[in-house]
């Protein structure tokens, strides 16, 4: 068969068979109530858990101040600490031993120790040292708090100096506790609201998890149930089987993405600065890449259990190395390279870029190309690996 007529009949044959697979997969999906329900509840559950429960910029951390002098600067620092939402001034120990005890028992997470003569030396511009001891067992929690504390004390010191010297803030009177203003320079997330980072990240991880597991099971399930033998004995090509199995999940993924983005915008007030259309197109690309990888696992695994194990082995580095949990730039170079091979890494940049920064396709061209390449490689392996015979 050749010529346009032959091409056309071959194309319709191809489409008919893919359509037959899609219909079959949809029916099976709808009939598998538990799986179908989990596709809807997993995103909701994760969104609520991560969105509401997890906050990496914690509030009201118990703090003790051990002051060896009682001056206006000390009082000023103490009220500054109290005024931020980061800290709660919970204890005023009288001795170092007492402060030590508070820290060790976990009653406080921070001890601020102001040495004697601090104010005097500060006024003389001697740059006196002040000790801040932090419970760093949870570095994420303490890290941002320490940064805040530093700028807070700096502000207090500067204010006191200006006030004494009759600078812009004062008029020679005993200075009233000033209304403190702390400037933390956090771009794109000025209030350092964790949800703005977590919700777009969740979009990527939830899609990775559900898309991967459901396609990873698809081929092995047919082999385990014996239906693969019938399927292979029929005139259908591996590519047609793959496309037919992937297509229904593109729709499931799109549904999940819609749910997460809608919840993100309305519940967590995530901004949508960039183009929604671009986000939709690239989300579909990301879904396809994950489906292709899951399908590849499905052709490599001997049974469904192995397929699930492979999916989890892939899922863990995706969470850890993609920049979802830990900052990407903080990882060693080899880990960054590993991270670059994961679709989630690129998608996180894309989704955070579009939602929070208003990035355009040109800004994201590197990540788009990487996603497309990963998808094509996975599809190629899957079709090559797919056993057309039972050999």
């Amino acid at each position: 068969m050749s010529g346009p007529a032959g091409m056309f009949s071959r194309l319709t044959g191809f489409l008919t068979r893919v359509d037959a697979m899609v219909r079959k997969e949809f029916l099976q999906l709808m009939r598998d109530r538990v799986s179908f329900a989990s596709m809807i509840t997993i995103p909701l559950l994760q969104l609520v858990l991560f969105g509401y429960a997890i906050n990496t910029t914690p509030r009201h951390l118990p703090t003790a101040v051990l002051a060896h002098e009682n001056t206006s600067l000390t009082r000023s620092i103490m009220s500054a600490i109290q005024n931020t939402k980061y800290f709660t001034l919970s204890h005023l120990p009288k001795s170092e031993a007492e402060a030590e005890e508070l820290m060790r028992s976990g009653a406080v997470l921070f001890v601020v120790e102001i040495p004697a003569g601090f104010e005097r030396r500060a006024r003389r511009g001697e740059n006196p040292a002040m000790l801040v001891a932090a419970d760093a067992t949870d570095p994420v929690a303490s890290g941002s708090a320490i940064a805040t504390l530093q700028s807070l004390v700096e502000t207090s010191v500067r204010r006191e100096r200006f006030a004494e010297e009759g600078g812009p803030a004062g008029s020679g009177l005993e200075p009233a506790p000033p209304p403190f203003q702390i400037i933390t320079h956090a771009r794109y997330n000025p209030a350092a609201v964790t949800q703005l980072n977590i919700v777009p990240g969740l979009l990527g991880t939830i899609l990775t998890m559900t898309m991967l597991i459901f396609t990873a099971l698809s081929v092995t399930r047919e082999i385990e149930r014996g239906t693969m033998e019938t399927l292979l004995a029929m005139p259908i090509r591996p590519v047609e089987i793959m496309l037919g199995k992937i297509a229904p999940y593109v729709m499931v993924g799109a549904l999940q993405a819609t749910m997460i983005v809608t919840a993100g915008v309305f519940l967590f007030h995530v901004p949508m600065i960039g183009s929604l259309g671009l986000l939709v197109v690239l989300t579909v690309l990301f879904i396809l890449a994950n489906l292709a990888i899951g399908y590849t696992f499905s052709t490599l695994a001997q049974n469904q259990l192995q397929a699930v194990q492979m999916a989890f082995m892939y899922f863990l580095p995706s969470i850890l190395l993609s920049g979802f949990m830990f900052p990407f730039a903080g990882m060693p170079v080899w880990a960054q390279w590993l991270g670059e091979t994961l679709p989630l890494t690129h998608y996180l940049r894309i989704v955070r870029g579009i939602l929070l920064k208003g990035s355009t396709a040109t800004d994201l061209s590197h990540d788009i190309a990487a996603l497309a390449a990963i998808m094509l490689v996975a599809m190629f392996i899957a079709v090559r690996r797919f056993r057309q015979t039972l050999d």
Binding site: R23, D32, M228, E229, P235, D391
Partner: protein, 314 residues
Amino acid sequence: MSEGPGGAPDYAIEVEGLSKTFGDRVVVHDLSMKVRRGQIYGFLGPNGSGKTTTIRMLCGLLTPDSGRGTCLGMNILTESREIRRHVGYMTQRFSLYADLSVRENLEFVARIYGMADPAGAARAAVDRLGLTGRDRQLAGSLSGGWKQRLALGVCILPAPQLLLLDEPTAGVDPKARREFWAQIHELAAEGLTVLVSTHYMDEAERCHEIAYIAYGDLLAQGTVDEVIAGAGLVTWSVTGGDPARLARELEATPGIEMVAPFGASVHVGSHDAAALEAAIAPFRARPELDWHRDAPTLEDVFIDLMSRSKDNFR
């Protein structure tokens, strides 16, 4: 290749020297067979003798290590995709989608084969199969007999020219088996070629031709009468006395190659008529025993073939 009157080859299946090895186990060894169009061809042999492997090689599910041949005039090595379009393969294990309904399974297959009106074809098949009223039932919840009937219905839906049925009646009750065979004969009368593997002797006797395969070797081929005659087996039947004790005694007697109790009688057989007569002479002298010469059955022949092939291999 010989051509029939309609330009189509006389043989639906024509293979030569097919071999297949899994690891170091030879599953099919140098197998050659010819199946005429419109015939019901019985494929017999003990478990693990290579029947399923041969059927899978015929429809392109397995690649032979060596050998060549044609299926419906198409090369089994290079044209397996085209062969699949015209062959209906019914697997040994039920392998339709258990979580799809009867009609959904039929529609799926109709679509894969690109039939013009899948829904209509499925409806017609449901009526033809006598599954009307059950078409919304999930295939997995059907009883064994109905599952088998549906599986056959799915096989013949795209109007194949050749049916490959792998132990289609295993675990099916006698009534359903009889109906199944009636349908097979109807299909053959319409010109369909059927290759069917089975363990049942009564089913073998319903076939136009049979082949016996054991441990990868094809040992006998032809009509039932030809296979029996070709075995060159001489058999005697004895009644009276205690059959179980008698069978033990006969087994211990040299010159008797085969002993098989059949209810109240015992069957003995050998390829050497004279040696057999000499061996049973002392038993014939016993007054309580009633001996007479009889024709060997297909089962006698198969059991003999099986025991001899075992001797050759182990």
